[in-house]
Symmetry: C2
Subunit: 347 residues, 2 copies
Amino acid sequence: MRATVYHGKCDVRIDQVPDPQIKEPGDAIVRVTHACICGSDLWPYRGMDQYQEGWRLGHEFMGMVEEVGKDVHTIKPGDRVISPFTYSDGTCEFCQKGLYTSCLHGSIWGGAANDGGQAEAVRVPMADGTLVKIPEEASNDEKLLKSILPLTDVMGTGHHAAVCAGVTQGGTVAIIGDGAVGLCGVLAAKRLGAERIIVLGHQPKRLAIAKSFGATDIVEERDAEAIARVQDLTKGGAHAVLECVGTKAAMDMAIDVARPGGGVGYVGAPHGSENLKFSRLFMQNISLRGGIAPVRAYIPDLLKDVIAGKIDPSPVLDMTVDLNGVPSGYAAMDKREAIKVMVQPQK
Amino acid sequence: MRATVYHGKCDVRIDQVPDPQIKEPGDAIVRVTHACICGSDLWPYRGMDQYQEGWRLGHEFMGMVEEVGKDVHTIKPGDRVISPFTYSDGTCEFCQKGLYTSCLHGSIWGGAANDGGQAEAVRVPMADGTLVKIPEEASNDEKLLKSILPLTDVMGTGHHAAVCAGVTQGGTVAIIGDGAVGLCGVLAAKRLGAERIIVLGHQPKRLAIAKSFGATDIVEERDAEAIARVQDLTKGGAHAVLECVGTKAAMDMAIDVARPGGGVGYVGAPHGSENLKFSRLFMQNISLRGGIAPVRAYIPDLLKDVIAGKIDPSPVLDMTVDLNGVPSGYAAMDKREAIKVMVQPQK
């Protein structure tokens, strides 16, 4: 089959690789119908992560179950399924608590050992603990499927940021980052009842989506002026701040616009954010919660709301490619010409 | 009157200073009967904070109300009172939420502008929002007063660490730091129902107190061996970790012994802890909460429990001096010969 393979900085290719096969009785083979390129795929693409030549790419996908091992009971061939960006056993202490990303036997898709989602098919280990069946009513609705696709990662990740930041009914929220996760954070904050949602960003197209998702205020200033503007709008800081970038500048900004006693929910993969503005965190008792989002835990509820038409994150997918178009999709996201790219490997 | 004044690194003196006087209608003058030297007083003592010559010292005190301004209604001359280590108006948004340390008009005792607690008397601004009256039944019981004294700071701070770490009934707790705050953290964790309380430390005298306070396990190993031991004892990390030191080594240790999905409650004044072990925090969704403890919020409940004999933090006060003995008290704590020093300025 064909799959996206990393060859070096700014060099991803569609290579021929061995077809996936059932290896363990808990495995499933999924033919990928929809996948995405993730903002976090840009870290290796830009040479900022220790990614190695030959590793597979892509951790967001949905598809049709083609074959299952003898121990798989919750899905069967012909089912339409969605995968979170990690696989997990579903039975360990952490999965039972909903922290699927800390699964004792799980991992993220792609890399050296696992298939990637930007491919024709994927071998899914521990399929019962990983995959969620998409209800029949949505299974053949292309528009709905596009709305469901962000639940593989960015919608669940934005939701995790909102939960970890402590978004509450009637509260004030600030969101750092106008990428797909930040935009989904707007939807999540609105869904959780936030009354005022302030988005910090600069690109008109993204800010238009933010507004359509429920942003009440847009702050286009930068640096100290942006902080002053949020502090002014909120009269002392936002109750909940979603940090959806991962850089030190973004984390510092998040801490600076949080209200004393408030919370920062961070989900951006840390790249320099290790060195915190600690004095403000400490002096104002601002909590820091978050991390890699256990989106598997969130899929069932979010899926219901997408199917019911209550949320629709699909506007973040503003470019669509087939498998051959994946390299151009990476380039478009790298240049910020696209917010997020949908991949349709069967087209 | 006489008060403790900072003159430079390892140089604190008892100087003659002007008597405190009522300046604002909300003020009270308190004659200090009991005060403490705090572990955090050692930062300026050791020249590690920007403290300047002439600044007052001491932020933990109790005493007798001598005089009150015309707007003071909750206390009167002759009352025995306890002060938290900050003063606060009691009425602003943050005080109303219990976050007294973020009071819009408050500050910590001592420094350039405020009286310090290691003195004969203190002018207390916003006395109604700051001071708590000690019930008559305890007011003349010297033994009980010594047990109440740690509520000015270390007992409330240890409690804050426990609350922020998310200590729960039946949970497993690890405590980094065997100073007065860490030891009070043991009492707090036990009070909140923790089943297993692991203390990391090395000094036999402190560890004996930890055991008497409810520690179930003592880990005397250091560095990687200590982490391995806690990981082994807890089979994967403690649910709640109390970081009661403030150094980078202590914060790293706290993160390393926390269970995935668990929490670190940190209360040590940050001195190098700004640079976090972020990858583990992120990958295992370990929350980081804490900061300067709003002990004013905790005094009423903890005071009831001390008076009822349910908790007694007084063993952390293992040395007593009069005002002239304050410099030797600092030296004893600096050399770790004393855990915490009680000061009796009227003796």
